[in-house]
């Protein structure tokens, strides 16, 4: 329990709302909704992303598109994502549809016109962010790890920035590490590392770097045991954040001798 108490002492705040967990979990790619639901529980996440195109937004209770029935809105904040949109116009349409269907007004803004690598379109993302912020959505944009774009988005009033560590689903880890470091250093909103996090060690690394949270989906969904993997990510995020808060000792280029060489100039201490 100690870890949890310590952890709660540094809650994450986004758009004025406090969260105890710094792990966001995505809901695609699971073998079943039941397995997904168990993994969410094991992760102790509080923010769950769902692709709107997978969900039934008609309000008619479509049993063939019932993913939302497996995500308890009392337990999790549902973060609708606009995956499928190629343009700002399309993303805005999806966001409006989500709001009119009674979903929270929190939007993970995702515009990736390139279906091969799913890399986000910076121009359309900025346009859509401006429009959605004006319409009073809480906007969490998914972006390439571009520090200037991150600043431009912060100027529009987005709630976070979500730079990618590597392409979605690639499990490559923090390929964009040095760019993310600049984004974190300059950030005025929480930075959530999204995409590419393939192992708990990657998540811990992002948290140690000072990311405010991470988003994980594929690595949990396609694990042999998604529930266990979700728990592993939970622990890794806590470990990384706790390490950050404890001030990690600097790395050194050379070994530090345990038998000092300079004692002869301190005769009193010998």
């Amino acid at each position: 329990m100690n870890e949890l108490i310590e952890y709660v002492s540094h809650p994450l705040t986004i758009a004025g709302r406090k969260f105890n967990s710094r792990l966001f979990v995505g809901t695609g790619k699971f073998a079943s909704n039941e397995i997904m639901s168990d993994a969410l529980a094991a992760s102790e996440t509080e923010i769950v992303t769902v692709a709107l195109r997978r969900a039934d937004l008609s309000g008619k209770g479509d049993s063939f598109a019932n993913i939302l029935d497996f995500i308890d809105p009392q337990k999790y904040l549902l973060l609708a994502n606009t995956s499928g949109a190629n343009t700002a116009d399309e993303a805005v349409r999806l966001a409006r549809l989500a709001r009119s269907a009674g979903l929270p007004n929190w939007i993970k803004l995702e515009i990736h016109p390139d279906p091969r690598h799913l890399l986000p379109d910076p121009i359309e993302t900025l346009k859509a962010a401006e429009a959605l912020v004006k319409e009073e959505f809480v906007v969490l944009p998914y972006i390439n790890a571009d520090p200037v774009l991150a600043k431009r988005l912060q100027d529009t009033g987005v709630a976070t920035v979500m730079p990618l560590g590597a392409p979605i689903g690639s499990n490559q880890g923090l390929v964009t590490k040095h760019q993310i470091e600049i984004i974190i250093e300059q950030a005025t909103v929480p930075v959530i590392v999204d995409a590419g996090i393939g192992a708990p060690s990657h998540a811990a690394e992002a948290m140690e770097m000072g990311a405010d949270a991470v988003l994980v989906n594929t690595a949990i969904a396609i694990a042999e045991n998604p529930q266990k993997m979700a728990n592993a990510f939970r622990l890794a995020v806590i470990a990384g954040h706790e390490a950050l808060m404890s001030v990690i000792p600097e790395t050194k280029a050379a070994a530090c001798a345990t038998s000092p060489l300079t004692t002869f100039v301190y005769p009193d201490s010998q």
Binding site: A31, R53, V92, R93, L97, P115, A221, I222
Partner: protein
């Protein structure tokens, strides 16, 4: 610039990735194929997760002005023909929606008089309210006509080249506009220009050497990915099935070849969809589904009205482009209960049975994976950002 120029200069235009693809098509022993299948399965899970999308074909019409030796709908085949009315199409689509499908492929023979652009627009518009994802597999069009389909709410287009071998193609397509190889080859590019989001390409295996067809198909795919970069792609490897006209495959394309081809595409194109139809048997589909497939049809009928019996009261023959009513002289057809299918399907299981079998394999059958509002004006009015 079009793929026509590239195809004609193969293999000199081969990229490094096509060279690798070709090496994957070389004969493999049992252990090597097993190894390929394991890699293919792992890459598929990585990119697509533990999921398979389900869709159904909905045949609108079996009228056709082409003669294609392998196709049951060929104009000279004396078959029972019909074109469904828009209301009948809606009835068929509602039937499919009740079975779970939210992704429907509208299919028709090529006959502008029966299957006009206006007719197709009406069909798309009429079902789009309850079918979020509508695809089209019909005769080729020009870009402006394709744009009308996109505006009506259609986001996917499937167009198979049938054969990339010009000489085989010429022998098999003996009459009608489909004789024009280049016109068909350029179709995906015209469709992309019109705004289609999903493009499906493929070849009909059994018409020419499978390795050579596969290389051309891969080159086509690589070309499209580079030039038409915003579309998502799927490939399909349909095999000849029994059909009116009794065409027999010219070349062999065995189950092992099929598996190797799926794996070769997956290893070379990790993010491309691979579609598996009910042309294949239950046993084969169950085996190959987890090894690279991303999308499957289920419970398919390949004749217009096949799901509900709609249109059976207006069956007729079409001889030299003219409708001929059934009478005593055509009595041999009158015992049939419906229109003639394009080909016989092999996997006869219901959609629910296919879904349940996928679940048993640890794969989540995904019925809905598209939201129609992405391409449509919202009910609230203007969506323009300006």
């Amino acid at each position: 610039m079009s793929f026509v120029d590239t195809l004609d200069r193969l293999p000199e235009t081969d990229s490094a990735s096509i060279l690798r693809f070709r090496s994957l098509l070389l004969p493999k022993n049992r252990d090597e194929l097993e190894q390929m299948a394991r890699q293919s399965s792992a890459i598929t899970r990585q990119h697509f997760g533990r999921t398979i999308r389900l869709f159904a074909p909905l045949y609108l019409s079996n009228e056709c002005i082409n003669n294609c030796s392998y196709c049951g709908f060929s104009r000279d085949n004396p078959i029972l023909r019909v074109t469904l009315s828009v209301d009948q199409v809606v009835a068929e689509a509602k039937h499919l929606a009740a079975l779970g499908f939210r992704n429907i492929l509208l299919v028709a023979g090529e006959h502008p008089r029966f299957v006009s652009e206006g007719y197709l627009q009406k069909c798309i518009t009429a079902i789009h309210d309850f079918i979020p994802s509508v695809g089209l597999e019909v005769g080729p069009m020009e870009t402006p006509e394709y744009s009308l389909m996109v505006e009506a709410g259609c986001e996917g287009l499937v167009i198979y080249q049938e054969s990339y071998d010009r000489s085989a193609y010429a022998k098999l397509h003996t009459a009608g506009p489909k004789k024009n190889f280049n016109w068909r080859l350029d179709c995906p590019e015209r469709a992309y220009a019109a705004g289609f989001r999903r493009l499906g390409i493929g070849a009909l295996f059994g018409l020419a050497d499978w390795r050579s067809e596969a290389e051309s198909l891969a080159a086509h795919l690589a070309y499209l990915q580079r030039h038409c970069w915003k579309a998502s792609y799927s490939v399909s490897f349909p095999r000849i099935r029994p059909a009116a006209g009794d065409f027999q495959p010219i070349t062999h394309f065995t189950d092992r070849n099929f598996l190797q081809l799926v794996c070769a595409f997956r290893l070379s194109f990790p993010e491309v969809g691979i579609v598996l139809s009910t042309r294949e048997s239950e046993v084969f589909r169950n085996g190959i589904a987890p090894l690279g497939i991303t999308s499957m049809s289920a419970g398919s009928h390949t004749e217009p009205g096949g799901y509900t019996g709609k249109g059976h009261d207006s069956l007729h023959l079409t001889i030299k482009g003219k409708r001929v009513e059934l009478n005593n002289s055509t009595q041999s057809f009158n015992n049939n209960t419906g229109a003639t299918p394009q080909f016989g399907i092999a996997d006869q299981r219901s959609p629910a049975e296919v879904a349940s079998s996928l679940t048993d394999t640890g794969l989540d059958p995904v019925w809905k994976d598209w939201e129609g509002v992405i391409l449509r004006q919202s009910p609230q009015g203007s969506t323009s950002l300006s």
